[in-house]
C-alpha cells in the first residue's frame, strides 16, 4: 500500500510502464476496448484488446501469458512418472485426458503396451473426463449469451461425473492415475453399475440442455451465422476437435489415428456440422457428449478381466528416441512430442495443446464482428487458459 506522495508517483509510473509493455495495439483512432485479464467471459486470465469503430471490431488481439507456467521447461527436470502430475493441470477440466497422450508416447518409446483391461478403463475414464469438461461448456456457453440457469444445471450434474472419477482415482480434478504400462489401481467394487446410472443422468442432462438452450430464439439469434470458419481456414490454423468438426471437416483422432485406446471396439459416430458458426460448434459438442455416453455404456458392458499393469522396471528409464502421440481431448487434439536420450527425464517435451491453436484464429475471426459477438465467439471456440498458455 502506498503512503507518501513520492511513493504514489513511483507506483503510478511503474504501472504505466507496465501498461506500455502489455498494450502494443496502437490507439490513434477509434476506441480501444480492453477485456480482461480478469473478465468473466474469458474463463480466467485471457486478455483481449479490441480496436473499435463504433460497435464494430476493427482489430482484436488476444494477449496471453497470464497463465504461462513453463511446462515444457519443467518437464526437462522431472522424471517420467512425475511429469503426469504436471500435465494433469494443462486442461484442468478434463485432467485425465491430459495424461493419456504423454503416457502413450512414453510407452511407445519403451515398447510396452498396457494390458487390455487397463486400456478399456483408460478409455472409459477418458470419455468421463470429456463429459466432465464439455458439460461445463454447455452451461457456460448459455451464460455467455445471457441465460444464467443452465450453468447451475451443469455444475449440478457435473458433480455426478466427478464423483465417479473420484471413486476410481481419488481425485476430483487431477487424478494422476495413469502409469507407464497401465494404471495405478483397479476399479472399485460396484463402480460399473453406478457409472451406468450416472450415464443415464448425463443423458437427461443433454436432453435438458437441448430443450433449454438449443431451441431458444435468443440463443439462435446470437449464434447462428456468427463467427463462421470455413474448413480451409480452420485447417491452416490447426483448429481441432469440435471446432474443426463444426466446420464440416470429418476428422476425429479417435476414429482416424487412434493409438492405445479401444475406440475400435465400440459403435459410435463422429458428428459434424456444415455451417461452421458458433451454433454448429455448440451443437457438435452437445452431440459429442451424448456420443461419449454411448461409448462409455458400451465399454462398461465389456471390460475384460486381467491385470491392469504390464511389467515395467521400477525406475523408469526411457530408451532414446522420439515419439509423437496425439489424442482427441475434449478441447481438440492434444499431443506430446517426447524426445528421450535414455535418461530418467525427458530431453525435450513439446506439448501441442488444442486451445493454443484454436485461439490463434481469433485475430482473423474477430475482425469485423460486433462487440457482443466477441463474447459468443470466444465462448463457442471454448478454450481453457491452461491449455493456451501451458
Amino acid at each position: 500500500m502506498v503512503t507518501t506522495e513520492s511513493e504514489q508517483m513511483a507506483y503510478i509510473a511503474a504501472q504505466a510502464a507496465d501498461a506500455r509493455v502489455n498494450v502494443e495495439v496502437e490507439t490513434d483512432e477509434g476506441m480501444t476496448l480492453n477485456l480482461g485479464p480478469q473478465h468473466p467471459a474469458t474463463h480466467g486470465t485471457l486478455r483481449i484488446v479490441a480496436k473499435l469503430d463504433g460497435e464494430k471490431v476493427v482489430a482484436a488481439e488476444p494477449i496471453m501469458g497470464y497463465m504461462h507456467r513453463g511446462y515444457e521447461k519443467l518437464t526437462e527436470v522431472r522424471t517420467y512418472p512425475q511429469v503426469t502430475t504436471l500435465v494433469n493441470r494443462i486442461d484442468w477440466l478434463g485432467s485425465f485426458a491430459n495424461e493419456v497422450p504423454f503416457i502413450l508416447a512414453a510407452e511407445q518409446l519403451m515398447e510396452v503396451e498396457a494390458p487390455p483391461r487397463a486400456q478399456w478403463i483408460r478409455t472409459v475414464l477418458f470419455e468421463l473426463s470429456r463429459i466432465a469438461n464439455i458439460s461445463l461448456f454447455l452451461g457456460d456457453m448459455a451464460v455467455q449469451v445471457g441465460a444464467t440457469t443452465p450453468v447451475f444445471y451443469a455444475f449440478r450434474d457435473r458433480e455426478f461425473v466427478l464423483n465417479q472419477i473420484e471413486r476410481v482415482t481419488g481425485g476430483r480434478f487431477h487424478p494422476n492415475f495413469d502409469r507407464i504400462g497401465g494404471l495405478k489401481d483397479d476399479l472399485p467394487k460396484g463402480w460399473i453399475e453406478e457409472t451406468g446410472t450416472v450415464i443415464g443422468k448425463m443423458r437427461d442432462f443433454c436432453d435438458e440442455m437441448e430443450e433449454l438452450v438449443l431451441g431458444n430464439e435468443i440463443f439462435q439469434a446470437r449464434t447462428r451465422g456468427i463467427g463462421v470458419i470455413p474448413p480451409e481456414v480452420a485447417l491452416s490454423y490447426g483448429l481441432s476437435g469440435a471446432n474443426l468438426r463444426g466446420s464440416g471437416v470429418d476428422w476425429d483422432i479417435r476414429r482416424d489415428a487412434n493409438v492405445g485406446l479401444v475406440y475400435d471396439e465400440v459403435d459410435w459416430k463422429v458428428w459434424t456440422h456444415p455451417d461452421g458458426d458458433s451454433f454448429s460448434r455448440f451443437w457438435v459438442r452437445l452431440q459429442e457428449t451424448r456420443e461419449a455416453c454411448n461409448i462409455i455404456e458400451q465399454l462398461l458392458g465389456g471390460i475384460p478381466a486381467g491385470p491392469i499393469m504390464a511389467k515395467v522396471p521400477r525406475i523408469i528409464k526411457v530408451p532414446a528416441g522420439e515419439a509423437y502421440v496425439a489424442t482427441e481431448n475434449p478441447l481438440g487434439e492434444m499431443g506430446f512430442y517426447v524426445v528421450s536420450q535414455g535418461d530418467l527425464t525427458p530431453f525435450r517435451v513439446k506439448i501441442r495443446s488444442a486451445s493454443f491453436s484454436n485461439m490463434s484464429i481469433t485475430p482473423w475471426l474477430l475482425k469485423g464482428v460486433f462487440v457482443p459477438d466477441i463474447i459468443s465467439i470466444l465462448a463457442s471456440l471454448y478454450f481453457i487458459l491452461g491449455d493456451i498458455d501451458r
Binding site: 509493455v21 502489455n22 502494443e24 496471453m64 504461462h68 513453463g70 515444457e72 521447461k73 519443467l74 526437462e76 527436470v77 522424471t79 512418472p81 515398447e111 483391461r117 502409469r179 497401465g182 494404471l183 495405478k184 489401481d185 453399475e193 453406478e194 451406468g196 446410472t197 443415464g200 485447417l235 491452416s236 490454423y237 490447426g238 476428422w251 455404456e297 458400451q298 462398461l300 458392458g301 465389456g302 475384460p304 478381466a305 486381467g306 491385470p307 499393469m309 515395467v312 521400477r314 528416441g321 522420439e322 515419439a323 509423437y324 496425439a326 512430442y337 524426445v339 536420450q341 530418467l344 527425464t345 525435450r348 513439446k350 501441442r352 493454443f356 491453436s357 485461439m359 490463434s360 482473423w364
Partner: protein, 252 residues
C-alpha cells in the same frame, strides 16, 4: 441402472474371450523370448502404416528433388524428414501441395545441447556452489534423422486424406539462427513462431510481428534453451528422488 442391451452383452462376451485368448498367446510368447511380444494382429497393422509412410516419403522425394537430407520412418508412428534451412519453406509447401497436408499441427524447436547443469536431479547439484564446469562435457546427440547444429526447427503437418503426419526438421545455423516464416503457407504458424522465438531466441524472417507471446516484455533470456538455469532449483534444496511408488501387483 440402465438395462444393457442384448447385442452389447454379446460384444462384451466376445471381447472377454479375445482378451483371454490374447493373454494365453502372450504367456506362450514370453516363455520363448521377450522380443516376440506383439501378437499377430498388430504386426499386420505395422506393415500397413509402414507402406503408407513409405508412399508419402516417395511422393515428398519426387516433389523436393533430392533436397531431403535424411529421413526416418518409425513403423506405425510416423515419418520424419530433414531438410536444409534454405528449403524450410519449400519443404512445407511441398508437403501441403503434393501430400495434401493441409492441417498445420505445430511448430517448435529443439535445443540439442546437453544441459550444462546436468539433470538437476542430484541434491549436491542444487547447492549454490555447484558450478557448471563440474560436469563432464557431453557430446551433442541428435535424434531421428540426425543433425548438425545446436538448434533444430521442427514442424508437424498432417494429411487428413492420407492419414499421415510428417515431421519436418531443419538445422539452424549456430551463429545466426533464423528461418523463413511459414505464415504464407500455413496461417496458423504465426503464434507458434512467436513462441519459438521467445523460448529459443530464433528469428523468423517475413514474420509480421515477432512480439513476446507469453512472458512479460522485460523478461531476460530464452527459457527453453538448455543453458537457461532454473534459479529456484539452486536456491531451494531439492530432496532428490525419494519416492519410488510400488507398482500394483509388485510385492516386496
Amino acid at each position: 441402472m440402465a438395462e444393457i442391451p442384448e447385442h452389447l452383452l454379446k460384444r462384451a462376451q466376445a471381447a472377454r474371450e479375445k482378451a483371454a485368448a490374447q493373454k494365453k498367446t502372450e504367456g506362450e510368447d514370453s516363455a520363448q523370448s521377450e522380443k516376440a511380444e506383439p501378437a499377430e494382429e498388430p504386426e499386420v497393422e505395422v506393415v500397413l502404416t509402414d507402406e503408407n509412410a513409405e508412399a508419402a516419403l516417395a511422393i515428398l522425394e519426387t516433389a523436393l528433388q533430392g533436397k531431403i537430407l535424411d529421413s526416418h520412418i518409425a513403423p506405425g508412428r510416423g515419418l520424419w524428414i530433414r531438410v536444409a534451412i534454405e528449403d524450410w519453406r519449400s519443404a512445407a509447401k511441398a508437403a501441403k501441395e503434393s501430400l495434401d497436408c493441409k492441417f498445420f499441427d505445430w511448430l517448435s524447436a529443439i535445443d540439442w545441447m546437453p544441459s550444462p547443469y546436468g539433470r538437476e536431479h542430484e541434491t549436491e547439484q542444487d547447492k549454490i556452489t555447484a558450478e557448471p564446469e563440474e560436469h563432464d562435457e557431453k557430446e551433442m546427440e541428435w535424434g531421428y534423422t540426425g543433425g548438425e547444429t545446436r538448434f533444430q526447427l521442427i514442424c508437424r503437418v498432417y494429411s487428413i486424406s492420407r492419414k499421415i503426419g510428417v515431421m519436418i526438421k531443419a538445422d539452424l545455423p549456430d551463429s545466426d539462427p533464423r528461418a523463413l516464416s511459414l505464415i504464407p503457407i500455413y496461417a496458423g504458424a504465426n503464434w507458434h513462431e512467436r513462441e519459438a522465438r521467445e523460448m529459443f531466441g530464433l528469428t523468423f524472417d517475413e514474420h509480421p510481428d515477432l512480439r513476446n507471446i507469453y512472458l512479460p516484455g522485460d523478461f531476460e533470456g530464452h527459457p527453453l534453451r538448455k543453458d537457461y538455469p532454473l534459479l529456484s532449483r539452486r536456491m531451494k534444496p531439492w530432496p532428490g528422488i525419494v519416492d519410488v511408488e510400488l507398482l500394483p501387483g509388485d510385492d516386496e
